[in-house]
């Protein structure tokens, strides 16, 4: 664990905690820059376009150019806005999504805090995002912002239920909520991942595989809705609401929302990857183990974790260019009539299999 190493190095718990808590930020910002680039490229190529090509080779510096542009932009606060709420909302939204990173195990050597209730903790702190979005929508004093915020809040609160139900399914299976333990348990090879029935031996493993696939689909769909991505992007539906709750924001405050959105995208992808796809575990052995270099293994684990996360981020982008936006009633029907019953039935089936 890096925290212990830092404690040894600095000898001060406060300083090492501080450094430890900054580490995810050094991941999120480059990731957001990369994800913005990836999003543009993926969307461009899926539409037979090229995307940004001017800044740098194949436009790879485009995100930096965007950041420069956003930094220079005027910080506009609309005259009738509720200034306190308007200025505080992006901070709250980003704080909510950043706090989730505290419990995400990036590698066996780094996890912000090894919480026993890591999974539930992430579900809990991401609810701060809802309050932040409502704050932004209300503070902007704009009809579109408020409508977007209310839609977003309704959507996130509804879709938390199937997410939590699938998490409960995982608790029933593994008996732990600790994300680090969850990852270390799915060790050695890909057939130990929970999506392939977990690390239990015997017929349980094979009986669990269909349930796990269902659980994976449910949690992936509901987390997609929680981060307001297409096809569940009615909170920021461009053709209806201008841009939803961040219509009135400009400059760095808009960048905060953007950063929070991409951080959230990675956070939910990381949760899905950690629960069902072995977290930081390699699908096959480690090069470090083979070569006998002990420090190589955490780096490899980080690589696997990041690539799994980015793969799911890619799938989210892929879905964005595949599916049209849902209507509000379809969205709620999807949650209450399909995902929740399926998740409940799935939970009961998993519980029965585990008891038998």
């Amino acid at each position: 664990m890096i925290y212990d190493f830092l404690l040894q190095l600095t000898g001060n718990a406060a300083i090492s905690s501080l450094i430890n808590s900054i580490i995810p930020l050094t991941f999120i910002i480059p990731f957001a820059l990369f994800a913005v680039y990836l999003e543009r490229k993926v969307s461009a190529h899926m539409q037979d376009r090229l995307g940004p090509m001017r800044v740098g080779w194949h436009g790879w510096l485009q995100s930096f150019a965007d950041i420069l542009k956003l930094l220079q932009k005027e910080d506009i606060v609309t005259a009738d806005a509720d200034k306190k709420l308007f200025n505080f909302a992006p901070v709250l939204v980003f704080a909510g999504s950043y706090a989730a990173f505290a419990a995400i195990p990036f590698s066996s050597a780094y996890i912000g805090t090894n919480l026993d209730l890591g999974l539930l903790y992430i579900v809990a702190v991401t609810s701060l995002v809802v309050a932040g979005i409502l704050m932004a929508g209300w503070g902007s004093n704009n009809k579109y912002s408020l409508l977007g915020a209310v839609r977003s809040a309704a959507q996130i609160v509804s879709y938390e239920i199937p997410t939590t139900l699938v998490i409960v399914t995982v608790i029933v299976m593994t008996g732990t909520l600790n994300l680090h333990k969850l990852s270390t348990d799915q060790t050695s090879s890909f057939y130990n991942w929970l999506i392939f029935g977990g690390y239990a031996a015997g017929w349980h493993k094979f009986a669990l595989i269909p349930s796990m696939f269902v659980g994976f689909l449910v949690i992936f769909i509901s987390t997609l809705a929680e981060v307001n991505r297409t096809p569940f992007d009615i909170p920021e539906a461009e053709s209806e609401l201008v841009a939803g709750y961040h219509t009135e924001y400009s400059g760095m405050k808009f960048a905060m929302f953007f950063l929070a959105e991409y951080a959230n995208m990675f956070a939910v992808s990381a949760i899905v990857a950690t629960i069902f796809f072995g977290g930081f575990q390699s699908p096959f052995g480690y090069l470090g183990n083979t070569l006998g270099i002990s420090w190589l293994r955490p780096i490899e684990e980080f690589f696997w974790f990041a690539s799994k996360g980015i793969f799911f981020v890619f799938v989210q982008m892929w879905l964005r260019w595949t599916l049209p936006r849902l209507r509000v009633d379809q969205l709620m029907a999807m949650c209450w009539k399909y995902l929740i019953p399926i998740a409940v039935v799935n939970l009961i089936i998993v519980a029965l299999i585990m008891v038998l």
């Binding site: 993926v42 461009a44 190529h45 899926m46 539409q47 037979d48 376009r49 090229l50 090509m53 689909l217 892929w318 879905l319 260019w321 595949t322 599916l323 399909y338 399926i342």
Partner: protein, 188 residues
């Protein structure tokens, strides 16, 4: 109940079909043209910037008269009888010095009406479409081949010639000039 499961099946099936299609398109070569480096070939009949081949222009002013937005302005000066202006590529004799041939492309409506009346086919539309300028005056193209000194010379030549002609006209019959003046007096 059957519709319920059918819905789920359709949703998943169509989702995967759609995802397959979009994934295929990820590898379809893109149709984007990298514009300043790569340019699309223009059609032959494209109407873009006007060009005047001054070697062929006889200064007949027909294009300027045909132009509906008066973007062409031509000034000509008669040549001295001694001068030889050469011939156009079609064998027509030139008789006028073109001292001004300006096309204000900012006014141009690209109707191509100036092209048809030209007897020597010296004015035509080209396929050059990148002619943005920082100032509007930059869009006023001048096609005159003569420089300012030459124009001044031609003008003075012409003026001299006119003066000579006038002098020649005036010299032999000076009383004739007074005739009109005296006529009304006579009538009265």
């Amino acid at each position: 109940m059957t519709t319920y499961f059918k819905n789920i099946y359709t949703a998943l099936y169509t989702l995967f079909v759609g995802m397959k299609i979009t994934f295929k398109h990820l590898f379809v070569p893109s149709v984007t043209i990298q514009y300043p480096e790569v340019k699309l070939p223009m059609a032959d009949r494209i109407r873009n910037r006007l060009y005047v081949n001054m070697d062929d222009c006889i200064g007949c002013d027909q294009c300027a008269r045909a132009c509906p937005v008066s973007c062409i302005s031509i000034e000509t000066v008669k040549s001295m009888p001694t001068e030889d202006l050469g011939k156009t590529s079609q064998g027509k004799k030139k008789a006028l010095w073109v001292t001004k041939f300006d096309i204000d492309i900012a006014k141009c409506c690209f109707c191509q009406l100036c092209v048809f009346p030209c007897p020597t086919e010296c004015i035509y539309m080209t396929d050059a479409y990148e002619f943005s300028e920082f100032e509007r005056s930059g869009l006023n193209y001048s096609f005159v081949t003569l420089n300012a000194d030459e124009i001044a010379e031609k003008k003075s030549n012409f003026a001299k010639m006119e003066a000579e002609k006038a002098a020649a006209k005036a010299a032999p019959k000076p009383p004739k000039a007074e005739e009109p003046a005296s006529k009304p007096a006579g009538d009265a």
